[in-house]
Symmetry: C2
Subunit: 258 residues, 2 copies
């Protein structure tokens, strides 16, 4: 029987250590194609490159048998699109993303390049999971997350995922992981979002920064609650943001239609 | 009584004609701050600029009283964040985005920079609406859409929107508009996504292209169905992509938790 084909991407770029940890795990489950951005693409959400062309480069890899590495000069979504159209030998059986250096919990989901790639794979019907460690350092220690990633990846490749659903998995950093909880994204926002500087000519410029505020710290069904208690969390995600239930209300209030 | 404050953004950039049409409409309803990307940002979704600093520039505008124009060297989401933190004199009463030169119907929603900005405003509690015309040309004729934009904007500033809900409004181009329908996003995908070229040195490069395919052309509750029949459509949108209903299924199948 043919070994499963597993597509791996990330948003930290082809040189981030986390993607090699993930490739090592995936290698046990099938043949692996890594297709990752040439440069860091954090915060790129589902952005795709419209106004410039893209290049693909294969990178030599003698260290990891069964793993091929490609970089794309674009966003995480570009990586998935080009992998599907021009890189993979056939349709992949699973797509894994990360391991991200940094949290994608709470409202980070909507900005996440990691989850942008995962949702792109999900929208073309491929079971897809994003993995993120709540630690930005490139020297982050992923070892405690590895057994959970193995378990989740194995379950997803064996059982698949419900149609239109992908997974956003986050791990606490620098602690023993207490267990695994399936949760919803905590309502949250970022505060103090910009640091202001003055350039040598006296003009201001701004750099994104800030702190994530959990708006519902006591909600025991949320990812931020359980991550704060040292659990890993799985949030099921559906890319389509249509709010179908509210259609009659909008028709009545905004359009005066009954 | 103080006039309402209306924030306007887009993803085609400060120089796109559509944003001036929208500013002209908003000017009748309140004081207007336009905060738009300095350059075209189509397909940027909810991307935000993490790794480089941003600049803000005010542009002179003697032609439109009550309208101030600012550009930001970043994405549509960056525009909203910087507007809220460093540009607006107070919290805006409404945020309008566009008029986009091109469709944001069907699965375009997730890639749309227009809707990225709208969702960013929605997430901080501001009633927000994105307007798009299904015509990419910078010379597009917005005149038939104007009465609908006036009606929707007036209803939203008077009545607000349900918490966590924003609107994705699309207009057919080059036809008489038959009316207005509240709908859901049609399930759709893009096909033939890249054109392949060869550079002078013989290396390949790729440029995004393609055609949107409606996967459910007969579904009478979708935006693409009604746009095809020359109606304008409103799709209610909720930024949070968590699929709460599927949590028990994922807990059981992936985590073996009952």
């Amino acid at each position: 029987m043919e070994r499963p084909l597993i597509l791996i991407a990330n948003d930290d770029g082809i040189n981030a250590p986390g993607i090699h940890v993930l490739a090592g795990i995936a290698q046990q489950l099938g043949d692996v194609y890594v297709v990752a951005p040439a440069t860091a693409q954090s915060g790129m959400s589902s952005a795709m490159t419209v106004n410039t062309p893209l290049r693909i480069q294969e990178h030599a890899n003698s260290a990891e048998p069964g793993v091929r590495y490609f970089s794309v000069t674009g966003t995480p979504v570009d990586c998935i699109k080009l992998a599907m159209h021009h890189i993979l030998p056939r349709r992949p059986d699973m797509m894994l993303c990360g391991i991200n250096h940094g949290s994608n919990a709470g409202n980070n989901l909507i900005y996440s390049g990691t989850m942008g790639a995962v949702m792109e794979a999900c929208m073309v019907g491929i079971p897809a999971v994003g993995f993120s460690l709540m630690h930005h350092s490139m020297a982050a220690d992923f070892s405690r997350a590895v057994p959970y990633i193995e378990k989740i990846s194995r379950a997803v490749i064996e059982k698949g995922l419900p149609e239109g659903v992908c997974l956003n998995v986050n791990f606490p950093a620098k602690v023993e992981i207490e267990g695994l909880k399936v949760a919803r994204s905590a309502r949250s926002h970022w505060t103090e979002e910009y640091r202001e500087y003055t350039d040598p000519a006296g003009h201001p410029f701004y750099w994104l920064t800030g702190k994530q505020i959990n708006e519902e710290p006591d909600a025991t069904d949320t990812d931020l609650y359980w991550l704060g208690k040292n659990y890993a969390t799985i949030v099921p995600v559906t890319p389509d943001q249509t709010n179908t239930a509210i259609i009659p209300t909008i028709a009545e209030t905004i359009c005066n239609q009954q």
